[in-house]
Every structure is written in structure tokens, then in C-alpha cells.
């Protein structure tokens, strides 16, 4: 077991983890935050997207022990106009891809506050949604970007 310390959604956390525990499993189990979902566990679907030091990545492909000394942000730590837009405009249906999608969209808007539709679609190309056909997800992200310009 390895002891790690890291910042999780702004709070200092200390966990003891086996090295083979993915960050995804560590977040969902040891850290008790089940908002981040496991859709495939092998980096193909983006449902497990979290921010580590501001960068979006698949938490299933990172070992939990690698979070030591980092800043991790999950969906539970996010408050952003994206959420209201997803909720109002049909950006979510079953909701399983939604946490990862919103985290990715936030990272996208953090880097590029004024994305074109193509840039949005490129940005979320690693997030699979099986419910919406992506049309309203793109709309929601555009609406959030617009809202933030005000």
C-alpha cells in the first residue's frame, strides 16, 4: 500500500492505495466520489474524464498513486454554466456520459472560450454518448460559451 496526498476538488486528501488501483477506482471507492463513471475502463469512451493539474484525461488510464502531489478535479468539484445548459437543452439523457462530457467541455472552454462547432466536436471526440446523437451536447456547450461571454 502506498500513501498519497493530493488536492481533490480543492480539498486536501490522504489516501492509502494499492499501486494497481486506477485513479478512477480510487476516486469512486477510496475517495467516495461516484460521479465519475466507468464506461469501458480502457480509455475508449471518456466517461471517466477528470482534470489533473487542469488537463482532462481518462482516469481509468492513470494509476491512483500517480495523483500524489497533484490537483484533481472531478464533476463533483465543478460549478459551471455548462451544467445548467446541459440540463435545460437536452445535453444529457441517461446521464452516464455526462460527468465526463462536462469535465471535458469545461477543459475545452477553459482553453478556448470561443470554439466553433468543429472545434467543439473535435474537443469531445473522445467522449462517447449513446443517447443524444451529440446535437444537443454541442448546442449546450455553445450556449455555455455564449453565456460566459456576457
Amino acid at each position: 500500500m502506498k500513501k498519497i496526498s493530493f488536492t481533490l476538488n480543492g480539498e486536501e486528501r490522504h489516501l492509502e492505495l494499492e499501486p494497481w488501483r486506477s485513479l478512477l477506482d480510487a476516486l469512486r471507492n477510496e475517495a467516495g466520489l461516484t460521479g465519475t463513471k466507468k464506461g469501458c475502463d480502457v480509455g475508449d469512451c471518456g466517461a471517466c474524464t477528470v482534470l489533473v493539474d487542469g488537463k482532462p484525461l481518462n482516469s481509468c488510464l492513470m494509476l491512483g498513486v500517480e495523483a500524489d502531489g497533484r490537483e484533481v478535479v472531478t464533476i463533483e468539484g465543478i460549478e459551471h454554466p455548462l451544467q445548467e445548459k446541459f440540463a435545460q437543452l437536452g445535453g444529457a439523457q441517461c446521464g452516464f456520459c455526462t460527468p465526463g462530457m462536462i469535465v471535458m467541455a469545461k477543459a475545452l472552454l477553459d482553453e478556448n472560450p470561443n470554439p466553433t462547432e468543429d472545434e467543439i466536436r473535435f474537443g469531445i471526440a473522445g467522449n462517447i454518448c449513446r443517447c443524444t446523437g451529440y446535437t444537443r451536447i454541442v448546442e449546450a456547450i455553445e450556449a455555455a460559451a455564449k453565456e460566459m461571454k456576457k
Binding site: W20, V42, G46, P56, L57, N58, L61, M104, G123, A125
Partner: protein
Amino acid sequence: MRRFEYFEPATLAEASALLARYGARAQPLAGGTDLLVELKEQLRRADCVVNIKKIPGIAAMSFDPRAGLRIGALVTAREIEISPVTAKYYPSLVQAARELGSIQVRNRATIVGNVCRASPSADTLPPLIADGAVVSIHGGQGTRRVPLEDFFTGPGKTVLKSGELMTEIVVPPPAPRTGKVYIKHGRRKAMELATVGVAVTLELEDEVRIVLGAVAPTPIRAKAAEALLRGREIDPALIERAARAAAEESRPISNVRASAEYRREMVGVLTRRALQRALDAVR
């Protein structure tokens, strides 16, 4: 994932020693976007995982107009993707990086890792080879350099010996008037493993290198195609002949992604398109 022993060596020497001691039972961990997938799908066993991300001096990417581009072992695909320097001088490498997995994957996957994994369809390999990249390998006997073109020996197989680690890739500076193109063929526009990959580096009326991915056990230079073009004035008819030559040089297999016949045909189509685009870029 099955359980494993875990190390975070602080130096290259420590890492090499660990890898040498455990031999085939150890796996180095950089980005983890290949290794963790293979461990989870039981395509690879690791009794010991050696995380090399704490080793200093291998994380930098730098460019010098005379020395070229240096890509340290921990440089991610995303860094290559968004760097203004690579955009200007190594556009085919950028194109390849851009199509590797997703942004989430690219924030972790390293170029060196992509190279060492040696998948025949890996995206960064054809452009790096087309640009004449050379790799530095650290091992028990110090450092050795190997042209990337000579690095691969089979699908997933390289010249790396037990205990060795690749520390950087050096890509020569581009000659003036060079066009560089990478085209990836896949069934959809992202999250794809190339069914065919073609990289072309074309120095106008001088040198041309055409590298094919996913159509042989390793990436291969389409040397017969290159020979048709080298030093000549290139017109559409010549491009067509070169494309066909490249197709004939490819040795693709059939699998669930595509049949060999289709892949061979696509080598022709993509080589033609890549050559044309490279030419347009240079003019």
C-alpha cells in the same frame, strides 16, 4: 488489473537496473495509455511496473534550427499537437499526434511510448521515419543512437534490449521548401487505429521519403516509389506511378478492421493524395 510490484526510480540508472533485473516480467510506465489497457485486457503481464515519470531530464521538448527537434521520453502527444514550433516545422507529426486517440489520451500518451510500443499502425511512426528521426537509448553500456527506421523488428518488437530505455527522439531540422503530410485512414474521424497510414516528406526536386504504416509488420519505406520520384520533376502521372508502386510494396494483412486487398488499394489512394498535398504545401 492483476496485482504487481511498483517502483518509481529517481534516475535512469535505477530504472535500467530494475528493468534488467526483472527482464520480461517488468514493464516501464510512462503515459500508461497502452500499458494499462494491455494489463487490463490481459494482453500483457507485468509482475513489476516501473514508473519512469520521476526521472529528471527526459521531459523536455526543444527545437533548434540546426539541431532540430528533441522529444524527451515524457513529452506527450498533446504537447506535440499544440506546439507552435511543431506546427511550423513538423506538420505531418502534428497531424499524426492530432489523430492519436482523443485529447484525454493525448494528455498522457508519450511519443516515445508510441514508438516503443511499436504497433505497426502507430500514427507517429511514419512521419517520424519520413523526417529521418534518430532515437537515443540508455542502457547498461551507456547511450546508443539508432535511426528510427532501423528500430522496429516486427509487430510490437524493437531492438531494445533488456534493461534499456529510450530517452529521447531527435528529428532533424527541415530543409527549406519541404512539404510534410500524414494521412490516416480509418472508419471514422477520431478514436481510430489506422487501417493504413501514409507519411510523405518531400523536399522539392530533391529528396522524397514515403513511409507506410499498418500495412506490414513494421512501418516501411516505400523505396521503389521514392526512387521513381527522387530528383525528378513531379507531375500527376508520376505521382500515380509512385502511388501504385507504393501499393505494390505494401504487405498488409486482413483482419476485422479491413481486408488486405482494400488496404493495398488505400495505400495507392493515400500515397497519391499525400504526395499531391505535400507538393501543394511546398509550392
